[in-house]
Amino acid sequence: MNYEVRIDDKLFHLELDRSEGQWHCKLNGTAINIDAVLTRTNVLSILLEGKAYEIKRELTINGLHLWVGSSHYSAEVRDPRSLRHRKDGTAGNKGPQMLTAAMPGKVVRVLLQEGAQVEAGQGILVVEAMKMQNEIKSPKAGRIQKIMVATSDAVNAGDLVAIVE
């Protein structure tokens, strides 16, 4: 199997095969001798030249996350053969920007209206959860094309709440 793997902002080309219970691994063309055991769902134990690593996997709306010990890495895996891959989380600041709720909660205030001009970093609406208020801000200067929610609406994490163009 061949994979393109992005870890934070580094890209790796990975070749992986398993035969007779042994992993064969090439990272960016270099053969690496690894020993891997899935100890429980989403917890992998890897030995690499004697060093022991415990890796946890987490899948959230913000994508795939790996924890090597206590260090966090965001990851993306592409299988070039199948051409299936995760959609990019952020696509730069060009074109319309989809604003999503970062946490589930209740909309307590809508600060601006559709059609209004916004500055980068300006708040558009406020979501409350666990006694904390989270202001959803515009990632860029532009115009509010659409606001999908109203005061008192419940939102889930990842819900589209507004579009800035």
Binding site: A36, N42, L44, I55, S71, Y73
Partner: protein, 506 residues
């Protein structure tokens, strides 16, 4: 001793009190709101009753419903935990009226300490050292101006009914006073329904040190040593320890004696905490009294070897304190980390949701008081405190080492937690040297987050690939990471949750 106790709370503190009941052979009764049916305290209790909707005002703050539930199930006493109704004199009175013992002080003591201005007046009368300032609410801007000039800037405006930093303003100079007074009054009114504010000399970067006391209903009062609570963010405690790095035997005795005098002056019984501000010259001033069990009580338990909840229950059942002041022995050092469902990389926003993976630490010197479990969905309606991790050591250094070890073992998947923040705090040289004040955490957070420089991107890349291979392997119910699309509820798709291949793959 009581036969049955109702716990008017939820989360880790409800579990903690339920455990104490079980240890004493007392039946425990949980109450729960709509969104807490699957919560740990309901699983762990002997009995459990639904008391209303998710919104706390319709459940955990509903005095009538709770007292009624206790009466109907035959509970003889109610433990209020912390937060919710724990410092509500009306609730304590409603319990008494229903013939149910409130495990805490009398309504009168709660009332007295609930008003910061009244408490200041009473304590002034009893000769307790106070931060210079007013002991009555500010009546006018002119009066405030005059007082501020007398005690000297900077001054602090505080809400009389306050707590949690609401209605609090630091005022550096005369021209800042007017707008600060107005906004503090307005905020206090909004938060507590009482806009009274008072004025104190501001102590800059003070230490926040508190003294635990226990008083029985026969007039005996003891102190159990201090806790250092200077690590705060937005006036909320984050990490506490005992003993304080700056308090020696002599200062402890002085503070303890003052704390006992405060409790006696307040006619106090049961467990309580006297909070002090300590300035750079180790002068200490009475700040307020918390008339309940504190979140951070475990650090005192670890250094004294006592169980405060057992003792609370024994005191409420009219037992005498089983020891005298001189029998209390403080040994070692303990530090508590409050594990919150919040994102330290994103302004500490709350992060409710489903816990998809939970690896919990244990072993020498580690105590874990938790209200969570794998598979549980953290509701968004309440305080985000998930668990407390407490480390004990023969000395402070060992306690820090054990906590760092345990925090590295702790993993909560599916939601964000502030575990990484504690790794930063405990690794900080100033923290390790015991140089703490209430500004410590803000200064730490203002510094650049250290980039994870452990250089394990290669391992992460290989692991990502191995997970993908395992997902796509025949006989696996896991879907490929390549085909996953985010679901709408903030969690992994349900096919993912059902995955369970755990066999060795080497």
């Amino acid at each position: 001793m009581f036969k049955k106790i109702l716990i008017a709370n939820r989360g880790e503190i409800a579990v903690r009190v339920i455990r104490a009941c079980r240890e004493l052979g007392v039946l425990s009764v949980a109450v729960y709101s709509d969104v807490d049916r699957a919560s740990l305290h309901v699983r762990k209790a002997d009995e459990a009753y639904h008391i209303g909707k998710a919104n706390a005002t319709e459940s955990y703050l509903n005095i009538e419903k709770i007292v009624d539930t206790a009466t109907r199930c035959g509970a003889e006493a109610i433990h209020p935990g912390y937060g919710f109704l724990s410092e509500n004199a009306k609730f304590a009175q409603a319990c008494a009226d229903a013939g149910i013992k409130f495990i805490g002080p009398s309504p009168a003591s709660i009332d007295l300490m609930g008003s910061k201005t009244r408490a200041r007046r009473e304590m002034q009368r009893a000769g307790i050292p106070l931060v210079p300032g007013t002991s009555a609410g500010v009546e006018s801007y002119e009066q405030a101006q005059q007082t501020a000039r007398q005690i000297g800037y900077p001054v602090m405006l505080k809400a009389a009914a306050g707590g949690g930093g609401k209605g609090m303003r630091l005022v550096h100079s005369p021209e800042e006073l007017k707008p600060a007074l107005e906004s503090a009054q307005s905020e206090a009114g909004g938060a507590f329904g009482d806009s009274e504010v008072y004025l104190e000399k501001a102590i800059i970067n003070p230490r926040h040190i508190e003294m635990q006391i226990l008083a029985d209903e026969h007039g005996n009062v003891v102190y159990l040593g201090e806790r250092e609570c200077s690590l705060q963010r937005r006036h909320q405690k984050v990490l506490e320890e005992a003993p304080s790095p700056i308090v020696g035997a002599e200062m402890r005795k002085k503070m303890g004696d003052v704390a006992v005098r405060v409790a006696t002056a307040a006619g106090y019984s049961n467990a309580g905490t006297i909070e002090f501000l300590v300035d750079e010259n180790k002068n200490f001033y009475f700040l307020e009294m918390n008339t309940r069990l504190q979140v951070e009580h475990p650090v005192t338990e670890l250094i004294t070897g006592l169980d405060l909840v057992h003792l609370q229950i024994r005191i409420a059942s009219r037992e005498k304190l089983p020891f005298q002041q001189e029998e209390i022995r403080i040994r070692g050092h303990a530090i508590e980390c409050r594990i919150y469902a919040e994102d330290p990389d994103n302004h500490f926003f709350p992060s409710p949701g489903k816990i998809t993976l939970l690896l919990s630490p244990s072993g020498p010197g580690i105590r874990r008081d938790s209200g969570m479990y794998e598979g549980w969905t953290v509701p968004l309606e309440y305080d985000p405190l998930l668990a407390k991790l407490i480390g004990y050591g023969a000395d402070r250094q060992q306690a820090v080492g054990r906590l760092l070890r345990a925090l590295n073992e702790y993993f909560v998947g599916g939601i964000k937690t502030n575990i990484s923040l504690f790794l930063r705090i405990l690794s900080d040289p100033d923290f390790q040297a015991g140089k703490l004040d209430t500004g410590f955490l803000d200064r730490l957070l203002a510094r650049e987050t250290p980039v994870s420089a452990d250089g394990n991107s290669e391992i992460a890349a290989i692991a990502a690939g191995i997970f993908a291979v395992l997902d796509s392997a025949p006989n696996s119910s896991q879907v490929s990471t390549g085909t996953l699309s985010p679901s709408s509820n903030g969690m992994a798709p349900s096919t993912w949750k059902k995955a369970g291949r755990t066999e060795a793959l080497r």
